[in-house]
Symmetry: C2
Subunit: 356 residues, 2 copies
């Protein structure tokens, strides 16, 4: 079992990563401080892993809540069902919330932990590739609003994260590939060497070979942890983690939550960011082609669905990265180095939004 | 105009206190960082002060939202109307939320600011005595849940607080007196000298003489700021600010929000805490009588409404200060010094809950 430390002063926490954490009772129990626990999962994941997890938790009061599965349930309404359960079962502020599931379960449970009695402890056990490499590092929690994704949330760091990559074996192919989008992102924004490693090892990742998956997950978490440690509250550097996300969120909102997976929308969004970077002359045509090729090899979309420029601009304007109306985008200065910029010019953006 | 600084490292902020802050445009504008502002008020306060306030705010985008007035509206539902307004008007994360009103407006607007896009700026202009001496210091924000008050919230410090005590002239007598409960509390928990000052000056406070009110508000804020600076997240000392609140919350929940004002319930709760402290032999009969006398002089209830011991215990168990089922209470070690304790014995508590 490997351990990676996310350094955030007194909010620092460890990520345990392994091929089998089934016997992780000791690690888990040492991070549960009180004698009350609520495990939140969803109807897809609970039948697979919940029972085994519960065996490893020895507290006086152990409750579970199983949410419906899907991004469309990442709402204030579902959040309220967590508060209802906590209050009905009289959990006090010494309780620990454990999220067992993908990004939706993690984000919503983390946000519930941030707000319940103004903040209680939180442990994350991510079971999807996306959640393992993305939401398990950084403490971002949120729910969606009908007018925008992740618009209501908090920064709330967990006590620890347990990543068991064997849970990925049960992940549907489409979701697994969507998770690879974020893995590729880390190479693109901050580590050319990792990007090259991905070009060489994508086929081993696609067949989910243990050692390749373990390396990709751990290295992704390490790269994200470095960025987050430098800028916990996203006042600067951290924004580069949003490569492809402004375009991607617009796609997701336009299609309706759940139609395109988050990773698929981000994949198309990264191709658009790469395209705009190429038009700016920041990266070469050849580098742009390498981006497209790797994303295509991962079986991910390399272009957005049919959307008008107007639809894109409207939905992008509400994005959190807009600052006083000016949409800032994450672009590529070169392969392996991202930059946040509003200096791209409307014309080049329009060309990216509506090629042909 | 007096300035009091609340010291919380990089979250420190000033409280401006005066008899007339109508010409406070400069102070206000220097704490608004972006060019978007949403002022949240309620239907009672807005007609009195909103127009004047808006004249002092010079930003590109200035929106207002008027909430219904009353504790029963301090809910997730009302909170959502703030998010709806922010998103419909496309406020981004550089926006500033200004709360103009009493504790409910302050708590709910502060919580909205804590969660909107994971945290935006917040300025508080409290217009009730309770809000001026209590919620303007400390960054506690929250909404109520049907099963308990303030169960869902966050710690979120404002950029600044503007206290104009002339707004108290329009406050209904009952609400003004309810605010005095918290003023008395500060004397009880931490400052015997202030308690003695209140005994001498209660009649001047009741007629709202400017210099007496100014001193009481400023000194209350100063005492609270000292406690909060020592313990921002309520891991220890800060809990003494809850004197009377565990009993008080039980009373409020039992009667239904809004039937007893918060300050009235806290007043009765402080008398109960004083009674239990007397039964424990911590304070003398004479000191207990002084507590009762001062609270009575302020026109506040000195005993709870008709409630059974069982009703009290059930409602107190869900209180945030309960730790693993054991209800910790704030009691008086002596006049002017509070302590948090679970060592009071069930029998003495039962005697306090059901005297005679």
């Amino acid at each position: 079992m490997n351990v990676l430390n996310v350094s955030l002063d007194e909010r620092s926490y460890p990520i345990f990563i392994g091929c089998s954490l089934r016997n992780s009772a000791d690690s888990l129990m040492s991070y549960i401080k009180g004698d009350q626990v609520l495990v939140v999962s969803n109807e897809t994941i609970a039948p697979l892993y919940l029972e085994n997890l519960l065996k490893n938790i020895d507290v006086a009061k152990l409750d579970t809540l199983v949410l419906p599965d899907g991004e469309q349930y990442k709402t204030m309404e579902t959040l309220n069902t967590i508060f209802d359960a906590l209050l009905a079962e009289r959990h006090d502020r010494s309780t620990t919330l454990i999220a067992l599931g993908g990004g939706v379960v993690g984000d919503i449970t983390g946000f519930a932990a941030a707000c319940y009695q103004r903040g209680v402890n939180f442990i994350q056990i991510p079971t999807t590739l996306l959640a393992q490499v993305d939401s398990s590092v950084g403490g971002k929690t949120a729910v969606n609003h009908i007018l925008g994704k992740n618009m209501i949330g908090a920064f709330h760091q967990p006590q620890c994260v347990l990543i068991d990559i064997s849970t990925l074996q049960s992940l549907p192919e489409r979701e697994y590939r969507a998770g690879l989008a974020e893995v590729i992102k880390y190479g693109l924004i901050t580590d050319l060497e990792f990007f090259v490693w991905l070009e060489k090892n994508m086929s081993r990742l696609l067949t989910r070979e243990d050692d390749a998956v373990l390396y990709a997950v751990e290295h992704s978490c390490r790269l994200k942890a470095h960025v987050v440690s430098t800028d916990e509250r996203e006042s600067g550097l951290r924004a580069i983690l949003n490569l492809g996300h402004t375009f991607g969120h617009a796609i997701e909102t336009h299609k309706g939550y759940g139609k395109w997976l988050h990773g698929e929308a981000v994949a198309a969004g990264m191709c658009m960011a790469s395209d705009l970077s190429k038009r700016l002359g920041w990266i070469s045509d050849a580098d742009h082609e390498r981006v497209i090729a790797l994303i295509a090899k991962a079986g991910l979309p390399t272009a957005p669905p049919e959307m008008t420029t107007e639809q894109f601009l409207t939905l992008m304007a509400v994005d959190k990265k807009a600052l006083g109306g000016q949409v800032r985008l994450v672009l590529l200065e070169r392969l392996g180095q991202a930059v946040v910029s509003a200096d791209y010019g409307e014309k080049l953006l329009a060309a990216t939004l509506s090629p042909s």
